[in-house]
C-alpha cells in the first residue's frame, strides 16, 4: 500500500515514516515507469514528477479519504499518494485491460473515484474551475469535503486559472489551489514569461487570498501548510492558494532529457532531493535505519510485483471501444 491517508491512530513518528514510505513508493514507481517507457511497454507519453514527491505525499497525508484530488497530466504521484494500488496504474500506462481505466484514459487521465482521485486533466488550467464545482457541491450539500487542485507553474497564465480563483473566492468554496512551481513550464523558464516572481503566490492578493509559499521538497512543511488550508476550507472559511517551490529532476515528458536547463541548476536541486533529506531527518529523530531498509526493500518488491501483474494484463477488448460514451454504458447516438 502506498496510502498516506490521514490515520489518526498513527503515532507522530509512524506518521512520518508513512510519509517517507509514500515518497519512496512514488519515486520508485516513476523510475520503473521511465524504464518501461524506454522498453516500449509504456506507449504514448508520460510526465514524471521525480523530485516533487514531497508535495503529493505531504498533501495526501493531510486529506481525508472522502476529500477530492484534482490532478494534472503529471498525476501519477497524486494518484498513488491517495492509496491507488500500483498495478492498475502501471497497467493503465501500458494500455492494458487491467488498467485503472481499462486503458481508455492513459497516463495523463488517471482517475480513481473510490480513492477520491476525481481525474487528471491534460488541458492546462481546465481542472481549476472543475475543482470549484466539486467544492460547490460539498458546500451546497453540507458535507465537509474539500477539493484539492494541483497544477504547475505553467498554469498561472491561462484564463481558467484566474476565472477559478475569483469564482472560488466570491463563493467561499472549500477548495485548495496547490501550485507545484518547478520553475520550468515545458521547455521555457516560467519567470521569462510571467509578470511576477512567484507565479501563483503573487497573484493571490488579486483574489483576496493570503500569499502562501512553502518548501515543496519538505514533506513535513507541505503537510503542515496543507493541513491548515484544508482545516480552513472544512470550517467554511473559503479557498486557499499555496505555492510550493520544487524541481523536476527529469524533462517535461517522455524521453525529454531537459538539456535546456543549466547543469548547475539541476545539481543544486539534486542536493535538495526531498527523499534523502527526509530519510536523514527520520534517522536524526531516532528511527532505526534497518526499519527504513526493510521499508525500501518492501517498496521495491511492490514495484516488481505490480510491474509483473500489469505486464500480464491483456490488451483491452473491442467491446470497450463503444462502452461508456453515455451514462447507460452505450455508445449509440442514433436509433
Amino acid at each position: 500500500m502506498t496510502s498516506t491517508q490521514a490515520a489518526p491512530e498513527l503515532s507522530y513518528l509512524e506518521h512520518k515514516v508513512a510519509m517517507y514510505r509514500s515518497q519512496v513508493a512514488l519515486r520508485r514507481f516513476e523510475q520503473r515507469a521511465y524504464d518501461l517507457f524506454l522498453e516500449n511497454y509504456v506507449k504514448g507519453t508520460s510526465h514524471l514528477s521525480i523530485g516533487q514527491e514531497a508535495i503529493a505525499a505531504g498533501v495526501a497525508a493531510a486529506m481525508r479519504p472522502t476529500d477530492w484530488t484534482f490532478a494534472t497530466y503529471r498525476g501519477h504521484a497524486h494518484t498513488l499518494a491517495r492509496g491507488v494500488p500500483m498495478t492498475p496504474v502501471f497497467a493503465e500506462l501500458m494500455g492494458r485491460s487491467n488498467g485503472l481505466m481499462a486503458g481508455k484514459g492513459g497516463s495523463m487521465h488517471l482517475t480513481s473515484v473510490e480513492h477520491g482521485v476525481m481525474g487528471s486533466y491534460a488541458i492546462i488550467g481546465a481542472h481549476l474551475p472543475i475543482a470549484c464545482g466539486a467544492a460547490w457541491s460539498a458546500q451546497y450539500r453540507g458535507t465537509d469535503q474539500v477539493a484539492v487542485c494541483f497544477f504547475g507553474d505553467g498554469s498561472v497564465n491561462i484564463g481558467a486559472f484566474h476565472e477559478a480563483l475569483n469564482f472560488a473566492a466570491i463563493w467561499k468554496l472549500p477548495v485548495i489551489f496547490f501550485c507545484e512551481n518547478n520553475l520550468w513550464m515545458e521547455y521555457t523558464r516560467t519567470s521569462e514569461v510571467t509578470a511576477v516572481a512567484n507565479p501563483a503566490a503573487d497573484r493571490a492578493s488579486a483574489y483576496g487570498l493570503e500569499s502562501i509559499i512553502v518548501d515543496g521538497n519538505d514533506a513535513d512543511a507541505v503537510y503542515e501548510v496543507a493541513s491548515l488550508a484544508i482545516a480552513r476550507a472544512r470550517a467554511g472559511e473559503g479557498p486557499s492558494m499555496i505555492e510550493a517551490k520544487t524541481y523536476r529532476h527529469g524533462g517535461h515528458s517522455r524521453a525529454d532529457p531537459g538539456k535546456y536547463r543549466p547543469d548547475d541548476e539541476l545539481a543544486e536541486w539534486l542536493l535538495k532531493d526531498p527523499i534523502p533529506l527526509y530519510r536523514s531527518r527520520l534517522l536524526e529523530m531516532g528511527v532505526d535505519e534497518d526499519e527504513l531498509l526493510v521499508l525500501e526493500a518492501d517498496v521495491d518488491a511492490e514495484v516488481d510485483t505490480a510491474t509483473n501483474e500489469a505486464k500480464a494484463g491483456a490488451a483491452p477488448g473491442e467491446e470497450l471501444l463503444f462502452q461508456d460514451v453515455w451514462a447507460d454504458g452505450s455508445g449509440s447516438w442514433r436509433n
Binding site: 477530492w68 485503472l100 481505466m101 481499462a102 481508455k104 484514459g105 487521465h109 482517475t111 480513481s112 473515484v113 476525481m118 481525474g119 486533466y121 488541458i123 481546465a126 481542472h127 481549476l128 474551475p129 472543475i130 475543482a131 470549484c132 464545482g133 466539486a134 467544492a135 460547490w136 457541491s137 460539498a138 451546497y140 450539500r141 469535503q145 477539493a147 484564463g159 481558467a160 476565472e163 477559478a164 475569483n166 469564482f167 466570491i170 463563493w171 470497450l320 462502452q323 461508456d324 460514451v325 453515455w326 451514462a327 447507460d328 454504458g329 449509440s332 447516438w333 442514433r334 436509433n335
Partner: protein, 325 residues
C-alpha cells in the same frame, strides 16, 4: 391549459425540475435577481433563493467548470451560457472535459448537467451574437444536443434533459422567445431522441430544427396551396438522433429537404443526407436538397440577415423548384 411564451416556458420547465429534485441547481450570468437577459428565468430566484439560483461573474469557463465539478459529485446543475456564440470562450470545458471524461475514466464518472443557451439569429445582433452552433455541439462525441421549437417542448425536453444522466446542450432559438402557444397544465416530461411529425404529406418530407420549424410549417401550408403536400418533421434532438422516424417519413414521400439555420458546411443536414443516402437511397425519387444559411458570418442589417437565414419564401421556392424539375 395556459398560453405561454417560449421564454416563460423556460422558467416553468426549470422550476418544475427544481421543485421535484433538490439536487437541481442553476447558475449563470444575470440569471438570478435580473431574471436573465432574455427574461427566460424570471421568478426562479424568488422561488428557490440565492443558494439554488446563483449569479456568476462573466466567467464562462468557471460557470461550466463549476457545473461539471458539481455534476460529478452529486448535483444536477443547469448552467446558462447567455449567447451560444460564447461557447467559443469555454469550449475546452465542453468539448475536452465534459464530453470525454466519462469515456476516459471507463465510466467512473457521470455528468448529469444541462447547458442551456440562446442560439441563432433573427434579432439583428450581428456575427458574434447570432450564430446557430448546433453543429459545433453535434460533432463532439459525448454531448447530447436538444433544440426545442415550441413552448410545450421546451418544458418537456428540459425535464428530460435534467433527468438524463448525460451532459445535454440545450439550445433555445432566440427568434422564438416571444412565440406563444397553449401549454397543458401540470407536469410535462418528454423523451430525448424522439423526432416529431408535425404535418403529414405525400409528396416531400421537410426536416427542420428550432426556429426553422415554424418556417417549415408555414412553407408547407403555402406549398399545399400550390398542390405540393409536405410532411414536416421536427428533429428536436440531434443527439440522440431519431433516424427511425426520419427514414420512415423520407421513404414514405421519396423526397428529403432539410431546413437548417446553421451555416452550410458540416450542418446537421449533411449528416442526415449521408445517412438517408446510405440507408434509403432506393426509396428516393429525387435529390436531397439542403436549405441552409450560407457559409458566411451573419450580417447585422435586417435586410441582409433576412437574406441569409432561410425564409418561408426561400423554403417554398426551393422545394417547388426541385419538385417541379
Amino acid at each position: 391549459m395556459a398560453q405561454l411564451t417560449f421564454r416563460e416556458a423556460i422558467a416553468r420547465g426549470i422550476a418544475q425540475e427544481m421543485r421535484r429534485d433538490e439536487s437541481v441547481v442553476f447558475l449563470g450570468e444575470d440569471v438570478g435577481a435580473a431574471g436573465g437577459v432574455f427574461k427566460g428565468t424570471v421568478g426562479l430566484f424568488e422561488e428557490f433563493g440565492p443558494l439554488r439560483v446563483r449569479d456568476t461573474p462573466i466567467s464562462e469557463q468557471a460557470i461550466l467548470g463549476a457545473a461539471m465539478g458539481a455534476s460529478m459529485t452529486g448535483l444536477r446543475p443547469i448552467a446558462e451560457i447567455m449567447f451560444a456564440d460564447f461557447f467559443a470562450v469555454c469550449w475546452d470545458i465542453v468539448a475536452n472535459e465534459i464530453a470525454k471524461s466519462r469515456y476516459m475514466t471507463n465510466g467512473q464518472l457521470t455528468f448529469p448537467l444541462v447547458i442551456r443557451s440562446g442560439n441563432g439569429g433573427g434579432l439583428r445582433f450581428g456575427a458574434q451574437h447570432s450564430q446557430s452552433v448546433e453543429n459545433w455541439a453535434m460533432m463532439i462525441p459525448g454531448l447530447k444536443v436538444v433544440v426545442p421549437s415550441n413552448a410545450t417542448d421546451v418544458i418537456g425536453l428540459m425535464a428530460a434533459s435534467v433527468r438524463d444522466n448525460d451532459p445535454v446542450i440545450f439550445l433555445e432559438a432566440k427568434a422564438l422567445y416571444a412565440s406563444k402557444m397553449d401549454v397543458p397544465d401540470g407536469e410535462i416530461v418528454d423523451t430525448l431522441g424522439s423526432a416529431k411529425v408535425l404535418r403529414e404529406g405525400t409528396d416531400a418530407t421537410v426536416v427542420a430544427l428550432g426556429a426553422m420549424v415554424p418556417k417549415a410549417l408555414a412553407a408547407a401550408e403555402e406549398l399545399s396551396n400550390a398542390g405540393i403536400e409536405c410532411t414536416v418533421v421536427d428533429v428536436r434532438s440531434l443527439v440522440p438522433l431519431d433516424m427511425t422516424t426520419i427514414l420512415r417519413e423520407v421513404s414514405a414521400t421519396g423526397r428529403l429537404f432539410t431546413v437548417e439555420e446553421n451555416p452550410r458546411l458540416c450542418g446537421w443536414g449533411g449528416e442526415l443526407s449521408s445517412i438517408v443516402s446510405e440507408e434509403a437511397f432506393y426509396d428516393l425519387d429525387g435529390p436531397i436538397v439542403r436549405i441552409t444559411t450560407p457559409h458566411i458570418p451573419l450580417p447585422a442589417a435586417d435586410a441582409l440577415e433576412d437574406l441569409a437565414i432561410p425564409s418561408v419564401e426561400r423554403i417554398v421556392t426551393t422545394i417547388a423548384k426541385s419538385m417541379n424539375s
